[in-house]
């Protein structure tokens, strides 16, 4: 392979790309050390100008953590007369620098914008924008009330338990096997393509039960109610299945139970 002048650069770039995760980790480690810079007493002299300007521009409520660091700095400074004198000198110099240049007039002159007294410059509501950036999260979304969601979930869970205790699904009984198969599966084809005994109304039992179950509807698993029309149809289907039952197979007792349940629901005034 012929060596070219660009090869060492390409090789170097490949090595750099390969080392990027390690470099990122190292960068993050350095940042985490530097992030607590305002809390280190050794940095007080270096950060005195920073604190002086920050004290002037004001700390807002959402800077609570920084406010705490500022209080710690103020306490350390109060204990040191030399630093206190330097602080006073710095505040005076800040006054002189600020007094020499009108911030409002300067901003309006170089930017062309106009700021009215007492006005808060805000951007348009975030909802009107569709900015494609995965790290853009609106403050409202960040402050999603997680506790409220948990409370709602807990209320739903209580209501769901209560509903299923007081008014359980009447058709959710354990199916009884017939010839080793579940009652609901009678008449279906198995994996081995061997047809199950499909005598008389066996297929209709399953269809009638399925139809009866479809009459029940809930809202988020709560407040169950029944469709009287569907229940009536399911009752007719089940009655037909019992009537057409092949003498070789006994009618499953669930067929009669289903009929009783449907009658009971219709008597309760299912709509």
């Amino acid at each position: 392979m012929k060596l070219s002048d660009s090869m060492p650069i390409a090789l170097w770039n490949a090595v750099r790309r390969g080392a990027m995760p390690f470099r990122r980790r190292r960068a993050l480690r350095a940042l985490l050390v530097d992030a607590r810079h305002p809390l280190e007493p050794d940095n007080d002299d270096r950060l005195m100008a920073f604190w002086a300007v920050l004290a002037r521009t004001g700390l807002r409520d959402h800077q609570g953590e920084l406010l705490d660091a500022g209080r710690r700095f103020a306490r350390r400074m109060q204990r040191d007369p030399q630093r206190r004198a330097a602080w006073t000198h710095m505040r005076l110099r800040l006054d002189a620098l600020e007094g020499a240049l009108d911030a409002h007039a300067h901003f309006e002159r170089i930017s062309g914008h106009r700021i009215e007294p007492g006005e808060t410059v805000t951007n348009r509501p975030a909802a009107r924008h569709h900015v494609r950036s995965r790290n853009l999260r609106s403050p409202a979304r960040r402050a999603l009330p997680r506790r409220g969601m948990l409370a709602t979930l807990a209320v739903w869970l209580v209501l769901f338990t209560w509903t299923n205790t007081t008014a359980p699904d009447p058709f959710a009984f354990e199916p009884v096997g017939q010839s080793g198969y579940a009652w609901e599966q009678v008449g279906e084809r198995t994996r081995g393509a061997t047809p199950l005994p499909a005598g008389g109304g066996t297929v209709t039992y399953a269809a009638a039960l399925e139809h009866a179950r479809s009459a029940r509807y809930t809202w988020l698993g709560l407040f169950p109610s029944y469709d009287a029309t569907v229940l009536g149809e399911a009752r007719d289907m089940m009655a037909l299945a019992i009537e057409q039952a092949d003498g070789g197979y006994s009618v499953p007792e669930q067929a009669y139970r289903t009929l009783d349940i449907i009658d009971g629901l219709l008597a309760q005034g299912a709509r």
């Binding site: 990122r24 521009t57 300067h106 930017s111 790290n135």
Partner: protein, 212 residues
């Protein structure tokens, strides 16, 4: 200080902003919105933050270096503002606008210091400001600190106390274990989880990229 100065200084101008100067994530959000849908309201917000940040940057620098004259402040703030205004359309990562403005300030300051005519005694040492670190903690300490606390706030609740004790209070694993009543290996596992989440945090990585 006169009453008029109180009203017209940086603090009164910055009070028009809906967020603090160090809330870089919100600044970057505002800038991204401005680029996506340019409008006069967004332009004014971005320009106001930019001006306030630049002015605060140089105020801090001028406070630390007493040889600088107040008349120079206006020039260097305006020069930096114009530089940002003319070049920001080239910025590819919109979510790093605040960090980019900080870099522009740093470079302008280095140029300002190195080109400034000063009478220097022969025995004096070279100006230290020319050799500056990538992240100037004397100016951006608040922003970096707030990025860390915001990242901690985004962690799951059970990790937050450990993260705060480890990265804000700088406590050892043993001290954290004693305070929380958990075993040291548990704390180590927590710190591992915290670091994994920090690596994915956009607010922190915007600053961490400056160390690369």
């Amino acid at each position: 200080m006169s009453y008029r100065t109180e009203l017209r200084s940086l603090d009164s101008l910055a009070s028009h902003l809906p967020f603090a100067l160090d809330e870089t994530e919100r600044v970057n959000e505002a800038y991204s919105r401005y680029v996506a849908h340019p409008g006069p309201a967004d332009a004014r917000l971005v320009d106001l933050w930019t001006y306030c940040y630049i002015r605060r940057y140089f105020l801090i620098k001028f406070l630390r270096e007493t040889a600088f004259r107040s008349s120079e402040l206006e020039q260097v703030v305006e020069r930096t503002y114009r530089k940002v205004e003319s070049r920001r359309h080239q910025l590819e990562r919109l979510d790093k606008y605040a960090q980019w403005v900080s870099v522009i300030c740093r470079n302008t300051y280095v140029n300002f210091v190195s080109r400034r005519r000063t009478v220097t005694p022969l025995e004096s040492v070279p100006h230290p400001a020319v050799e500056m670190p990538d992240v100037e903690l004397d100016v951006d300490a608040g922003a970096v600190f707030l990025a860390l606390t915001a990242a901690i706030g985004r962690l799951p609740g059970f990790l937050q106390p450990t993260a705060r004790m480890r990265y804000v209070e700088n406590l050892s694993y043993e001290e954290i274990a004693r305070i929380t009543g958990k075993r040291v290996p548990t704390i180590r596992a927590y710190v591992h989880k915290i670091c994994a989440r920090f690596r994915k945090d956009q607010g922190l990585s915007a600053w961490a990229d400056r160390y690369l």
